[in-house]
Amino acid sequence: MKILTPEQFETKLRELMALADERGEHAGRVAREAANAEAVYLEDAPDVNEWVEAALRRSLEDEIVIAEPVGAEAAPGEDFIQLGERELEVAKRALARLKLPQLSRVAVSVGLDPRGSHGDLVDRIARSYYDDPAEVARLILTHEEARAERGLIDRLYPLRIGIDDLANAASTLQRLSGRYIRVGVARWFVYADCQTQSDGLWINGFFRSYDADAKREGDAFELVSVPSDAVVSARLRGNQDFLEVRGRGETESRAILTAVEWATSLRRSPGLQLRVEGIDGDLMRWDQRSIFMLYFLDRVLPDSGIDILNLTSARFESAVEPGFARRPTVRSVALQGQHLLSSKAACELLMEGRALVELSLDLRFRPQPEVEWIFPVRFSLARDHATVLTGFGSNLPESAAVLHRDLSRRLRQSLIAGAHVDTRLQALARRVIERARSSEPVAEADIFAPPADWLRRLDDLEAEEGA
Protein backbone atom coordinates (compact mmCIF):
# COMPACT_ATOMS: atom_id res chain seq x y z
CA MET A 1 0.00 0.00 0.00
CA LYS A 2 1.23 3.45 -0.83
CA ILE A 3 0.29 6.50 1.17
CA LEU A 4 -0.58 9.67 -0.72
CA THR A 5 -1.92 12.99 0.40
CA PRO A 6 -5.30 13.98 -1.09
CA GLU A 7 -3.51 16.51 -3.32
CA GLN A 8 -1.11 13.87 -4.62
CA PHE A 9 -4.05 11.53 -5.19
CA GLU A 10 -5.93 14.17 -7.20
CA THR A 11 -2.84 14.91 -9.27
CA LYS A 12 -2.40 11.21 -9.96
CA LEU A 13 -6.03 10.91 -11.01
CA ARG A 14 -5.79 13.94 -13.32
CA GLU A 15 -2.62 12.59 -14.93
CA LEU A 16 -4.26 9.24 -15.60
CA MET A 17 -7.32 10.89 -17.10
CA ALA A 18 -5.16 13.10 -19.32
CA LEU A 19 -3.14 10.11 -20.45
CA ALA A 20 -6.32 8.18 -21.29
CA ASP A 21 -7.59 11.12 -23.40
CA GLU A 22 -4.29 11.57 -25.16
CA ARG A 23 -4.04 7.85 -25.95
CA GLY A 24 -7.58 7.85 -27.32
CA GLU A 25 -6.71 10.64 -29.77
CA HIS A 26 -3.48 8.88 -30.65
CA ALA A 27 -5.24 5.56 -31.31
CA GLY A 28 -7.77 7.36 -33.52
CA ARG A 29 -4.98 8.98 -35.56
CA VAL A 30 -3.14 5.69 -35.94
CA ALA A 31 -6.28 3.87 -37.13
CA ARG A 32 -7.14 6.60 -39.63
CA GLU A 33 -3.63 6.82 -41.04
CA ALA A 34 -3.03 3.07 -41.25
CA ALA A 35 -6.40 1.84 -42.40
CA ASN A 36 -8.46 4.90 -43.22
CA ALA A 37 -10.80 4.02 -40.39
CA GLU A 38 -14.02 5.98 -40.27
CA ALA A 39 -14.10 8.61 -37.56
CA VAL A 40 -17.35 9.88 -36.11
CA TYR A 41 -17.55 13.15 -34.20
CA LEU A 42 -20.77 14.00 -32.44
CA GLU A 43 -21.69 17.41 -31.14
CA ASP A 44 -23.96 15.85 -28.56
CA ALA A 45 -21.66 12.95 -27.69
CA PRO A 46 -22.48 11.55 -24.24
CA ASP A 47 -20.06 12.38 -21.48
CA VAL A 48 -18.73 9.24 -19.83
CA ASN A 49 -15.79 11.00 -18.23
CA GLU A 50 -17.61 11.69 -15.00
CA TRP A 51 -18.54 8.04 -14.67
CA VAL A 52 -14.97 6.91 -15.42
CA GLU A 53 -13.49 9.32 -12.92
CA ALA A 54 -15.89 8.24 -10.16
CA ALA A 55 -15.29 4.56 -10.87
CA LEU A 56 -11.51 4.93 -11.00
CA ARG A 57 -11.47 7.11 -7.91
CA ARG A 58 -13.41 4.47 -5.98
CA SER A 59 -11.18 1.69 -7.21
CA LEU A 60 -7.94 3.53 -6.47
CA GLU A 61 -9.16 4.53 -3.03
CA ASP A 62 -9.19 0.81 -2.22
CA GLU A 63 -5.59 0.43 -3.39
CA ILE A 64 -4.03 3.65 -2.16
CA VAL A 65 -3.98 4.87 1.39
CA ILE A 66 -4.97 8.51 1.41
CA ALA A 67 -3.61 10.42 4.36
CA GLU A 68 -6.35 12.98 4.92
CA PRO A 69 -5.75 16.05 7.06
CA VAL A 70 -7.82 15.98 10.23
CA GLY A 71 -11.06 17.99 10.07
CA ALA A 72 -10.67 19.35 13.63
CA GLU A 73 -8.25 18.92 16.49
CA ALA A 74 -7.15 15.28 16.46
CA ALA A 75 -7.86 14.27 20.01
CA PRO A 76 -9.77 11.42 21.60
CA GLY A 77 -13.47 12.22 21.68
CA GLU A 78 -13.27 14.79 18.88
CA ASP A 79 -14.89 14.26 15.46
CA PHE A 80 -11.79 14.76 13.37
CA ILE A 81 -12.57 12.33 10.52
CA GLN A 82 -13.76 14.17 7.40
CA LEU A 83 -17.55 14.31 7.45
CA GLY A 84 -18.23 12.61 4.11
CA GLU A 85 -15.81 9.78 4.79
CA ARG A 86 -17.18 9.28 8.28
CA GLU A 87 -20.78 9.17 7.04
CA LEU A 88 -19.89 6.67 4.36
CA GLU A 89 -17.98 4.37 6.69
CA VAL A 90 -20.66 4.58 9.40
CA ALA A 91 -23.31 3.67 6.82
CA LYS A 92 -21.18 0.71 5.71
CA ARG A 93 -20.64 -0.44 9.26
CA ALA A 94 -24.37 -0.35 9.98
CA LEU A 95 -25.27 -2.09 6.72
CA ALA A 96 -22.68 -4.80 7.39
CA ARG A 97 -24.98 -6.13 10.12
CA LEU A 98 -27.32 -7.41 7.43
CA LYS A 99 -26.72 -10.80 5.89
CA LEU A 100 -26.19 -11.21 2.16
CA PRO A 101 -29.81 -12.17 1.27
CA GLN A 102 -31.08 -9.17 3.23
CA LEU A 103 -28.62 -6.85 1.49
CA SER A 104 -29.79 -8.21 -1.86
CA ARG A 105 -33.36 -7.40 -0.91
CA VAL A 106 -32.34 -3.88 0.13
CA ALA A 107 -30.58 -3.42 -3.22
CA VAL A 108 -33.63 -4.62 -5.15
CA SER A 109 -35.93 -2.39 -3.13
CA VAL A 110 -33.94 0.72 -4.08
CA GLY A 111 -33.23 -0.25 -7.66
CA LEU A 112 -29.56 -1.15 -7.24
CA ASP A 113 -27.80 -4.18 -8.68
CA PRO A 114 -28.40 -6.98 -6.12
CA ARG A 115 -25.46 -9.10 -7.29
CA GLY A 116 -22.03 -9.45 -5.73
CA SER A 117 -20.45 -10.30 -2.41
CA HIS A 118 -21.49 -9.03 1.01
CA GLY A 119 -18.79 -6.35 0.82
CA ASP A 120 -19.80 -5.29 -2.70
CA LEU A 121 -23.43 -4.80 -1.68
CA VAL A 122 -22.57 -2.95 1.52
CA ASP A 123 -20.36 -0.63 -0.49
CA ARG A 124 -22.91 -0.13 -3.26
CA ILE A 125 -25.80 0.70 -0.95
CA ALA A 126 -23.70 2.87 1.36
CA ARG A 127 -22.34 4.94 -1.53
CA SER A 128 -25.86 5.55 -2.79
CA TYR A 129 -27.32 6.65 0.53
CA TYR A 130 -24.53 7.70 2.90
CA ASP A 131 -25.62 11.34 2.81
CA ASP A 132 -29.07 10.29 4.03
CA PRO A 133 -28.45 8.45 7.31
CA ALA A 134 -32.18 8.29 8.11
CA GLU A 135 -32.84 6.40 4.89
CA VAL A 136 -29.94 4.00 5.60
CA ALA A 137 -31.44 3.34 9.03
CA ARG A 138 -34.89 2.77 7.57
CA LEU A 139 -33.54 0.34 4.98
CA ILE A 140 -31.65 -1.62 7.63
CA LEU A 141 -34.57 -1.82 10.04
CA THR A 142 -37.02 -2.75 7.29
CA HIS A 143 -34.90 -5.66 6.11
CA GLU A 144 -33.08 -6.98 9.16
CA GLU A 145 -33.97 -10.25 10.85
CA ALA A 146 -35.26 -10.23 14.39
CA ARG A 147 -32.51 -9.69 16.97
CA ALA A 148 -32.62 -9.49 20.73
CA GLU A 149 -31.12 -5.98 20.91
CA ARG A 150 -34.08 -4.60 18.99
CA GLY A 151 -36.96 -6.77 19.96
CA LEU A 152 -38.98 -8.48 22.61
CA ILE A 153 -38.02 -11.95 23.61
CA ASP A 154 -39.84 -14.54 25.66
CA ARG A 155 -38.36 -17.84 26.74
CA LEU A 156 -40.71 -20.56 27.87
CA TYR A 157 -39.14 -22.97 30.35
CA PRO A 158 -41.18 -26.12 31.02
CA LEU A 159 -41.45 -27.04 34.68
CA ARG A 160 -41.17 -30.43 36.35
CA ILE A 161 -42.85 -29.10 39.48
CA GLY A 162 -45.04 -26.02 39.22
CA ILE A 163 -46.39 -23.84 42.03
CA ASP A 164 -49.88 -24.61 43.23
CA ASP A 165 -50.08 -21.83 45.76
CA LEU A 166 -49.15 -18.64 43.91
CA ALA A 167 -50.10 -16.43 46.85
CA ASN A 168 -47.68 -18.21 49.14
CA ALA A 169 -44.90 -17.99 46.52
CA ALA A 170 -45.65 -14.30 46.05
CA SER A 171 -45.32 -13.70 49.76
CA THR A 172 -41.94 -15.46 49.87
CA LEU A 173 -40.64 -13.60 46.86
CA GLN A 174 -41.92 -10.29 48.21
CA ARG A 175 -39.86 -10.79 51.35
CA LEU A 176 -36.78 -11.16 49.17
CA SER A 177 -37.28 -7.79 47.46
CA GLY A 178 -34.12 -5.72 47.58
CA ARG A 179 -31.93 -8.76 48.30
CA TYR A 180 -29.54 -10.49 45.98
CA ILE A 181 -28.25 -14.01 45.54
CA ARG A 182 -25.11 -15.18 43.77
CA VAL A 183 -25.97 -17.33 40.76
CA GLY A 184 -22.52 -17.87 39.26
CA VAL A 185 -18.94 -16.62 39.28
CA ALA A 186 -19.17 -12.83 39.67
CA ARG A 187 -22.86 -13.07 38.80
CA TRP A 188 -25.78 -12.06 40.99
CA PHE A 189 -29.52 -11.84 40.72
CA VAL A 190 -31.32 -9.03 42.52
CA TYR A 191 -34.94 -9.58 43.51
CA ALA A 192 -36.67 -6.29 42.68
CA ASP A 193 -40.34 -6.89 43.23
CA CYS A 194 -43.11 -9.38 42.81
CA GLN A 195 -46.72 -8.68 41.85
CA THR A 196 -49.76 -10.88 41.73
CA GLN A 197 -51.99 -9.95 38.80
CA SER A 198 -55.05 -11.50 37.23
CA ASP A 199 -52.89 -13.28 34.65
CA GLY A 200 -50.40 -14.73 37.13
CA LEU A 201 -47.45 -13.91 39.28
CA TRP A 202 -44.85 -11.45 37.97
CA ILE A 203 -41.31 -11.57 39.32
CA ASN A 204 -39.01 -8.70 38.39
CA GLY A 205 -35.33 -8.35 38.99
CA PHE A 206 -32.03 -7.67 37.43
CA PHE A 207 -28.89 -9.53 36.76
CA ARG A 208 -25.53 -8.04 37.69
CA SER A 209 -22.28 -9.48 36.38
CA TYR A 210 -18.69 -8.28 36.31
CA ASP A 211 -16.12 -8.69 33.60
CA ALA A 212 -12.71 -8.76 35.28
CA ASP A 213 -9.13 -8.48 34.14
CA ALA A 214 -5.69 -7.82 35.60
CA LYS A 215 -3.49 -4.89 34.60
CA ARG A 216 -0.33 -3.14 35.62
CA GLU A 217 0.39 0.55 35.51
CA GLY A 218 3.94 1.39 36.47
CA ASP A 219 4.66 -0.48 39.66
CA ALA A 220 1.00 -0.83 40.56
CA PHE A 221 -0.94 -4.01 39.91
CA GLU A 222 -4.66 -3.77 39.64
CA LEU A 223 -7.74 -5.88 39.06
CA VAL A 224 -10.14 -4.08 36.78
CA SER A 225 -13.82 -4.97 36.87
CA VAL A 226 -16.57 -3.68 34.64
CA PRO A 227 -20.15 -4.25 35.82
CA SER A 228 -23.07 -4.89 33.52
CA ASP A 229 -26.76 -5.10 34.36
CA ALA A 230 -29.68 -6.69 32.58
CA VAL A 231 -33.33 -6.33 33.49
CA VAL A 232 -35.32 -9.53 33.49
CA SER A 233 -38.80 -10.59 34.53
CA ALA A 234 -40.70 -13.83 34.78
CA ARG A 235 -44.35 -14.73 34.82
CA LEU A 236 -45.91 -17.78 36.36
CA ARG A 237 -49.52 -18.55 35.55
CA GLY A 238 -51.73 -20.70 37.71
CA ASN A 239 -52.14 -24.28 36.51
CA GLN A 240 -49.55 -23.89 33.79
CA ASP A 241 -46.27 -25.73 33.75
CA PHE A 242 -44.16 -23.02 32.19
CA LEU A 243 -42.11 -20.18 33.51
CA GLU A 244 -42.28 -17.37 30.97
CA VAL A 245 -39.12 -15.30 31.10
CA ARG A 246 -38.70 -11.96 29.36
CA GLY A 247 -35.07 -10.91 29.20
CA ARG A 248 -32.69 -10.07 26.42
CA GLY A 249 -30.08 -12.76 26.99
CA GLU A 250 -30.17 -16.39 27.94
CA THR A 251 -27.81 -15.83 30.89
CA GLU A 252 -30.12 -13.48 32.76
CA SER A 253 -33.10 -15.67 31.83
CA ARG A 254 -31.45 -18.65 33.50
CA ALA A 255 -30.52 -16.47 36.46
CA ILE A 256 -34.13 -15.55 37.24
CA LEU A 257 -35.16 -19.18 36.75
CA THR A 258 -32.54 -20.21 39.30
CA ALA A 259 -33.61 -17.41 41.63
CA VAL A 260 -37.26 -18.52 41.52
CA GLU A 261 -36.27 -22.17 42.00
CA TRP A 262 -34.24 -21.33 45.09
CA ALA A 263 -37.00 -19.24 46.59
CA THR A 264 -39.96 -21.53 45.88
CA SER A 265 -40.86 -25.15 45.26
CA LEU A 266 -40.77 -24.59 41.48
CA ARG A 267 -38.41 -26.94 39.60
CA ARG A 268 -37.49 -26.75 35.96
CA SER A 269 -37.84 -29.67 33.62
CA PRO A 270 -34.54 -31.09 32.34
CA GLY A 271 -35.73 -30.92 28.76
CA LEU A 272 -38.35 -29.52 26.44
CA GLN A 273 -40.73 -32.39 25.74
CA LEU A 274 -42.81 -31.75 22.64
CA ARG A 275 -46.09 -33.56 22.28
CA VAL A 276 -46.56 -34.80 18.75
CA GLU A 277 -49.38 -37.27 18.24
CA GLY A 278 -50.44 -39.51 15.39
CA ILE A 279 -47.07 -39.85 13.68
CA ASP A 280 -46.96 -42.56 11.05
CA GLY A 281 -45.75 -43.26 7.52
CA ASP A 282 -42.95 -41.07 6.19
CA LEU A 283 -43.16 -38.79 9.21
CA MET A 284 -41.83 -41.62 11.42
CA ARG A 285 -38.36 -40.74 10.13
CA TRP A 286 -38.72 -37.03 10.83
CA ASP A 287 -37.53 -35.32 13.97
CA GLN A 288 -40.40 -34.38 16.29
CA ARG A 289 -39.15 -30.80 16.53
CA SER A 290 -39.51 -30.44 12.75
CA ILE A 291 -43.05 -31.81 12.84
CA PHE A 292 -43.91 -29.45 15.69
CA MET A 293 -42.48 -26.45 13.81
CA LEU A 294 -44.35 -27.32 10.60
CA TYR A 295 -47.58 -27.79 12.53
CA PHE A 296 -47.03 -24.47 14.27
CA LEU A 297 -46.33 -22.66 10.99
CA ASP A 298 -49.22 -24.29 9.19
CA ARG A 299 -51.97 -24.40 11.79
CA VAL A 300 -51.22 -22.01 14.61
CA LEU A 301 -49.37 -19.02 13.22
CA PRO A 302 -51.32 -17.82 10.19
CA ASP A 303 -54.55 -16.75 11.83
CA SER A 304 -56.35 -13.67 13.18
CA GLY A 305 -54.48 -11.05 11.18
CA ILE A 306 -51.11 -12.81 11.02
CA ASP A 307 -49.69 -13.97 7.67
CA ILE A 308 -46.33 -15.49 6.83
CA LEU A 309 -44.63 -13.40 4.15
CA ASN A 310 -41.18 -14.89 3.99
CA LEU A 311 -39.13 -17.57 5.73
CA THR A 312 -35.68 -16.02 5.72
CA SER A 313 -33.49 -18.37 7.71
CA ALA A 314 -33.69 -21.82 9.19
CA ARG A 315 -31.35 -23.81 11.41
CA PHE A 316 -31.33 -27.57 11.48
CA GLU A 317 -29.60 -29.79 14.00
CA SER A 318 -28.90 -33.47 14.19
CA ALA A 319 -28.38 -35.61 17.25
CA VAL A 320 -24.92 -35.44 18.82
CA GLU A 321 -23.00 -38.67 18.60
CA PRO A 322 -21.53 -39.43 22.01
CA GLY A 323 -17.76 -39.65 22.30
CA PHE A 324 -15.18 -39.37 19.57
CA ALA A 325 -16.42 -40.19 16.09
CA ARG A 326 -14.19 -41.12 13.16
CA ARG A 327 -16.97 -40.39 10.72
CA PRO A 328 -17.14 -36.72 9.70
CA THR A 329 -20.41 -35.28 10.97
CA VAL A 330 -22.28 -32.03 10.57
CA ARG A 331 -24.22 -31.14 13.66
CA SER A 332 -25.85 -27.89 12.65
CA VAL A 333 -26.81 -26.43 9.28
CA ALA A 334 -28.13 -22.91 8.81
CA LEU A 335 -29.86 -21.86 5.62
CA GLN A 336 -30.47 -18.26 4.66
CA GLY A 337 -32.51 -16.92 1.79
CA GLN A 338 -36.14 -16.39 0.97
CA HIS A 339 -39.15 -18.71 1.21
CA LEU A 340 -36.80 -21.33 2.58
CA LEU A 341 -39.25 -24.14 3.15
CA SER A 342 -40.05 -24.14 -0.56
CA SER A 343 -36.39 -24.83 -1.29
CA LYS A 344 -35.10 -28.28 -2.09
CA ALA A 345 -32.22 -27.84 0.39
CA ALA A 346 -34.53 -27.27 3.36
CA CYS A 347 -36.90 -30.06 2.31
CA GLU A 348 -33.98 -32.50 2.04
CA LEU A 349 -32.85 -31.68 5.56
CA LEU A 350 -36.36 -32.21 6.91
CA MET A 351 -36.65 -35.52 5.09
CA GLU A 352 -33.25 -36.65 6.36
CA GLY A 353 -34.59 -36.35 9.88
CA ARG A 354 -32.70 -33.21 10.88
CA ALA A 355 -34.42 -31.17 13.54
CA LEU A 356 -35.74 -27.80 12.46
CA VAL A 357 -34.84 -25.88 15.62
CA GLU A 358 -34.92 -22.25 14.54
CA LEU A 359 -36.85 -20.24 12.00
CA SER A 360 -36.67 -16.55 11.16
CA LEU A 361 -39.54 -15.12 9.21
CA ASP A 362 -41.23 -11.91 8.18
CA LEU A 363 -44.81 -11.71 9.39
CA ARG A 364 -47.55 -9.37 8.30
CA PHE A 365 -49.68 -8.32 11.24
CA ARG A 366 -53.06 -6.66 10.73
CA PRO A 367 -54.58 -6.00 14.13
CA GLN A 368 -57.33 -4.05 12.34
CA PRO A 369 -58.29 -4.13 8.66
CA GLU A 370 -56.80 -0.70 8.02
CA VAL A 371 -53.54 -1.30 9.93
CA GLU A 372 -50.71 -3.37 8.52
CA TRP A 373 -47.27 -3.90 10.01
CA ILE A 374 -44.43 -6.17 8.96
CA PHE A 375 -42.26 -7.66 11.66
CA PRO A 376 -39.21 -9.91 11.65
CA VAL A 377 -39.80 -12.80 14.03
CA ARG A 378 -37.81 -15.79 15.24
CA PHE A 379 -38.96 -19.03 16.83
CA SER A 380 -36.51 -21.51 18.27
CA LEU A 381 -36.56 -24.74 20.20
CA ALA A 382 -33.62 -25.28 22.55
CA ARG A 383 -32.83 -28.27 24.74
CA ASP A 384 -34.82 -26.99 27.70
CA HIS A 385 -36.89 -24.10 26.46
CA ALA A 386 -38.68 -22.52 23.50
CA THR A 387 -38.14 -18.93 22.42
CA VAL A 388 -40.12 -16.36 20.52
CA LEU A 389 -38.41 -13.14 19.46
CA THR A 390 -40.36 -10.30 17.87
CA GLY A 391 -38.09 -7.75 16.25
CA PHE A 392 -39.21 -4.15 16.01
CA GLY A 393 -38.34 -3.92 12.31
CA SER A 394 -39.07 -0.39 11.15
CA ASN A 395 -42.08 -0.14 13.51
CA LEU A 396 -42.50 1.29 16.96
CA PRO A 397 -41.78 -1.02 19.93
CA GLU A 398 -45.37 -0.52 21.16
CA SER A 399 -46.81 -2.08 18.03
CA ALA A 400 -44.31 -4.95 18.26
CA ALA A 401 -45.51 -5.58 21.80
CA VAL A 402 -49.06 -6.17 20.56
CA LEU A 403 -47.92 -8.87 18.17
CA HIS A 404 -45.42 -10.30 20.62
CA ARG A 405 -48.06 -10.96 23.25
CA ASP A 406 -50.09 -12.83 20.66
CA LEU A 407 -47.15 -14.87 19.35
CA SER A 408 -46.02 -15.78 22.83
CA ARG A 409 -49.53 -16.97 23.67
CA ARG A 410 -49.77 -19.05 20.51
CA LEU A 411 -46.41 -20.70 21.13
CA ARG A 412 -47.32 -21.41 24.76
CA GLN A 413 -50.64 -22.94 23.80
CA SER A 414 -48.99 -25.04 21.10
CA LEU A 415 -46.48 -26.38 23.58
CA ILE A 416 -49.33 -27.31 25.90
CA ALA A 417 -51.67 -28.77 23.28
CA GLY A 418 -48.95 -30.34 21.14
CA ALA A 419 -49.07 -31.08 17.43
CA HIS A 420 -51.49 -33.52 15.86
CA VAL A 421 -50.56 -35.24 12.66
CA ASP A 422 -53.66 -35.31 10.51
CA THR A 423 -54.32 -35.58 6.80
CA ARG A 424 -53.50 -31.91 6.26
CA LEU A 425 -50.09 -32.18 7.92
CA GLN A 426 -49.44 -35.45 6.09
CA ALA A 427 -50.23 -33.74 2.80
CA LEU A 428 -47.79 -30.96 3.68
CA ALA A 429 -45.14 -33.55 4.55
CA ARG A 430 -45.72 -35.27 1.19
CA ARG A 431 -45.12 -31.97 -0.62
CA VAL A 432 -41.89 -31.49 1.33
CA ILE A 433 -40.76 -35.01 0.42
CA GLU A 434 -41.68 -34.51 -3.24
CA ARG A 435 -39.67 -31.28 -3.28
CA ALA A 436 -36.69 -33.01 -1.68
CA ARG A 437 -36.75 -35.75 -4.31
CA SER A 438 -37.47 -33.49 -7.25
CA SER A 439 -34.76 -32.28 -9.58
CA GLU A 440 -36.96 -29.58 -11.12
CA PRO A 441 -35.94 -26.00 -10.38
CA VAL A 442 -38.43 -24.16 -8.16
CA ALA A 443 -39.69 -21.04 -9.90
CA GLU A 444 -41.98 -19.75 -7.18
CA ALA A 445 -42.49 -20.37 -3.48
CA ASP A 446 -45.30 -22.86 -2.97
CA ILE A 447 -44.73 -24.23 0.53
CA PHE A 448 -45.63 -21.51 3.02
CA ALA A 449 -45.96 -19.10 0.11
CA PRO A 450 -46.87 -15.47 0.83
CA PRO A 451 -50.61 -14.67 0.76
CA ALA A 452 -52.14 -14.09 -2.67
CA ASP A 453 -53.10 -10.46 -2.01
CA TRP A 454 -49.51 -9.70 -1.00
CA LEU A 455 -48.15 -11.21 -4.21
CA ARG A 456 -50.70 -9.30 -6.26
CA ARG A 457 -49.60 -6.09 -4.60
CA LEU A 458 -45.93 -6.86 -5.37
CA ASP A 459 -46.86 -7.51 -9.02
CA ASP A 460 -48.72 -4.19 -9.18
CA LEU A 461 -45.74 -2.37 -7.69
CA GLU A 462 -43.37 -3.97 -10.18
CA ALA A 463 -45.69 -3.08 -13.02
CA GLU A 464 -45.83 0.53 -11.81
CA GLU A 465 -42.05 0.73 -11.60
CA GLY A 466 -41.72 -0.83 -15.03
CA ALA A 467 -44.14 1.72 -16.46
Binding site: D21, G24, H26, A27, G28, V48, N49, V52, S59, E63
Partner: protein
Protein backbone atom coordinates in the same frame (compact mmCIF):
# COMPACT_ATOMS: atom_id res chain seq x y z
CA UNK B 1 -6.36 -9.41 -3.95
CA UNK B 2 -8.41 -10.89 -6.77
CA UNK B 3 -9.21 -8.48 -9.58
CA UNK B 4 -12.67 -7.03 -9.19
CA UNK B 5 -13.59 -7.99 -12.69
CA UNK B 6 -16.80 -9.96 -12.77
CA UNK B 7 -18.78 -11.99 -15.25
CA UNK B 8 -21.64 -10.07 -16.70
CA UNK B 9 -23.83 -11.80 -19.29
CA UNK B 10 -25.37 -8.51 -20.37
CA UNK B 11 -22.00 -7.01 -21.23
CA UNK B 12 -21.12 -10.17 -23.13
CA UNK B 13 -24.36 -9.65 -25.03
CA UNK B 14 -23.29 -6.11 -25.91
CA UNK B 15 -19.83 -7.33 -26.93
CA UNK B 16 -21.34 -9.87 -29.29
CA UNK B 17 -24.04 -7.55 -30.58
CA UNK B 18 -21.50 -4.91 -31.66
CA UNK B 19 -18.77 -7.44 -32.57
CA UNK B 20 -16.39 -5.64 -30.25
CA UNK B 21 -13.83 -8.44 -30.55
CA UNK B 22 -13.16 -7.17 -34.07
CA UNK B 23 -12.15 -3.66 -32.98
CA UNK B 24 -8.60 -4.68 -32.00
CA UNK B 25 -8.41 -8.11 -33.60
CA UNK B 26 -5.28 -9.33 -35.38
CA UNK B 27 -5.53 -8.35 -39.03
CA UNK B 28 -4.00 -6.21 -41.73
CA UNK B 29 -6.47 -3.38 -41.22
CA UNK B 30 -6.55 -3.41 -37.46
CA UNK B 31 -2.98 -4.26 -36.46
CA UNK B 32 -1.94 -0.61 -36.14
CA UNK B 33 -4.90 0.13 -33.88
CA UNK B 34 -4.22 -3.06 -31.93
CA UNK B 35 -0.62 -1.93 -31.34
CA UNK B 36 -1.74 1.54 -30.26
CA UNK B 37 -4.19 0.13 -27.72
CA UNK B 38 -1.74 -2.46 -26.39
CA UNK B 39 0.88 0.29 -25.92
CA UNK B 40 -1.76 2.28 -24.10
CA UNK B 41 -2.44 -0.61 -21.76
CA UNK B 42 1.31 -0.92 -21.12
CA UNK B 43 1.37 2.74 -20.13
CA UNK B 44 -1.63 2.39 -17.85
CA UNK B 45 -0.13 -0.65 -16.13
CA UNK B 46 3.20 1.15 -15.71
CA UNK B 47 1.48 3.97 -13.86
CA UNK B 48 -0.87 1.80 -11.87
CA UNK B 49 1.25 -1.16 -10.84
CA UNK B 50 3.07 0.83 -8.14
CA UNK B 51 -0.25 0.73 -6.28
CA UNK B 52 -0.98 -2.93 -6.87
CA UNK B 53 0.18 -5.21 -4.12
CA UNK B 54 0.16 -8.85 -5.18
CA UNK B 55 -2.38 -9.07 -7.96
CA UNK B 56 -3.04 -6.58 -10.74
CA UNK B 57 -6.28 -4.63 -10.39
CA UNK B 58 -7.32 -4.87 -14.01
CA UNK B 59 -10.55 -3.03 -13.42
CA UNK B 60 -8.48 0.17 -13.07
CA UNK B 61 -7.21 -0.46 -16.59
CA UNK B 62 -10.74 -1.10 -17.81
CA UNK B 63 -11.93 2.24 -16.44
CA UNK B 64 -9.09 4.10 -18.14
CA UNK B 65 -9.70 2.26 -21.38
CA UNK B 66 -13.34 3.35 -21.28
CA UNK B 67 -12.13 6.93 -21.34
CA UNK B 68 -9.62 6.20 -24.09
CA UNK B 69 -12.25 4.53 -26.26
CA UNK B 70 -14.64 7.40 -25.67
CA UNK B 71 -12.00 9.79 -26.94
CA UNK B 72 -11.19 7.72 -30.04
CA UNK B 73 -13.49 8.87 -32.89
CA UNK B 74 -12.78 5.71 -34.86
CA UNK B 75 -14.29 3.63 -32.06
CA UNK B 76 -17.54 5.52 -32.46
CA UNK B 77 -17.27 4.94 -36.20
CA UNK B 78 -16.67 1.24 -35.62
CA UNK B 79 -19.71 0.90 -33.36
CA UNK B 80 -21.92 2.76 -35.81
CA UNK B 81 -20.77 0.55 -38.68
CA UNK B 82 -21.62 -2.58 -36.74
CA UNK B 83 -25.24 -1.59 -36.26
CA UNK B 84 -25.83 -0.01 -39.68
CA UNK B 85 -26.29 3.41 -38.09
CA UNK B 86 -29.18 2.07 -36.06
CA UNK B 87 -27.61 2.78 -32.70
CA UNK B 88 -28.21 5.98 -30.82
CA UNK B 89 -24.64 6.92 -29.97
CA UNK B 90 -25.82 9.87 -27.93
CA UNK B 91 -27.46 7.68 -25.29
CA UNK B 92 -25.19 7.99 -22.27
CA UNK B 93 -26.06 4.73 -20.51
CA UNK B 94 -25.81 2.64 -23.63
CA UNK B 95 -22.58 4.31 -24.70
CA UNK B 96 -21.05 3.70 -21.26
CA UNK B 97 -21.98 0.04 -21.52
CA UNK B 98 -20.55 -0.27 -25.01
CA UNK B 99 -17.28 1.36 -23.91
CA UNK B 100 -17.18 -0.89 -20.86
CA UNK B 101 -17.69 -4.04 -22.87
CA UNK B 102 -15.10 -2.92 -25.43
CA UNK B 103 -12.57 -2.03 -22.74
CA UNK B 104 -12.86 -5.47 -21.20
CA UNK B 105 -12.57 -7.10 -24.59
CA UNK B 106 -9.44 -5.15 -25.56
CA UNK B 107 -7.85 -5.90 -22.19
CA UNK B 108 -8.66 -9.56 -22.63
CA UNK B 109 -7.03 -9.56 -26.08
CA UNK B 110 -3.97 -7.85 -24.62
CA UNK B 111 -3.60 -10.41 -21.83
CA UNK B 112 -3.96 -13.29 -24.27
CA UNK B 113 -1.33 -11.73 -26.54
CA UNK B 114 1.09 -11.31 -23.61
CA UNK B 115 0.44 -14.86 -22.48
CA UNK B 116 1.09 -16.22 -25.97
CA UNK B 117 4.24 -14.16 -26.37
CA UNK B 118 2.69 -12.14 -29.22
CA UNK B 119 3.02 -8.88 -27.35
CA UNK B 120 6.01 -7.91 -25.24
CA UNK B 121 4.94 -5.37 -22.66
CA UNK B 122 7.10 -2.29 -22.88
CA UNK B 123 8.62 -1.16 -19.62
CA UNK B 124 6.16 -3.13 -17.55
CA UNK B 125 7.72 -4.74 -14.52
CA UNK B 126 5.19 -7.33 -13.54
CA UNK B 127 2.26 -8.67 -15.48
CA UNK B 128 0.62 -11.74 -14.12
CA UNK B 129 -2.11 -12.82 -16.50
CA UNK B 130 -3.28 -15.96 -14.76
CA UNK B 131 -5.75 -18.19 -16.57
CA UNK B 132 -8.50 -17.20 -14.15
CA UNK B 133 -7.77 -13.54 -14.74
CA UNK B 134 -7.88 -14.09 -18.48
CA UNK B 135 -11.17 -15.82 -18.19
CA UNK B 136 -12.63 -13.14 -15.97
CA UNK B 137 -11.26 -10.19 -17.88
CA UNK B 138 -13.36 -11.11 -20.88
CA UNK B 139 -16.49 -10.29 -18.97
CA UNK B 140 -15.36 -6.99 -17.55
CA UNK B 141 -16.87 -4.74 -14.99
CA UNK B 142 -20.55 -5.07 -14.24
CA UNK B 143 -22.77 -2.05 -14.04
CA UNK B 144 -26.55 -2.14 -14.46
CA UNK B 145 -27.24 -2.56 -18.18
CA UNK B 146 -29.80 -0.56 -20.09
CA UNK B 147 -32.11 -3.52 -20.61
CA UNK B 148 -34.75 -1.49 -22.33
CA UNK B 149 -32.37 -0.33 -25.03
CA UNK B 150 -30.88 -3.78 -25.41
CA UNK B 151 -34.29 -5.19 -26.08
CA UNK B 152 -34.93 -2.51 -28.66
CA UNK B 153 -31.62 -3.18 -30.36
CA UNK B 154 -31.92 -6.93 -30.29
CA UNK B 155 -35.61 -7.81 -30.21
Amino acid sequence: VAPRIVRDPELIEIRDLFKLQDFCKKGRKTNARRGAYFETIDMFIQRLEVHWEEMPHYDDVVFLLVRTLNRDPTFRGFVRSQRQNATDLTDRDLWTQICNAAAGTVLHQYLVAVENGEWAPTGVAAIAPLPAVLDAAQDVVAIPPPQQQLRELNP
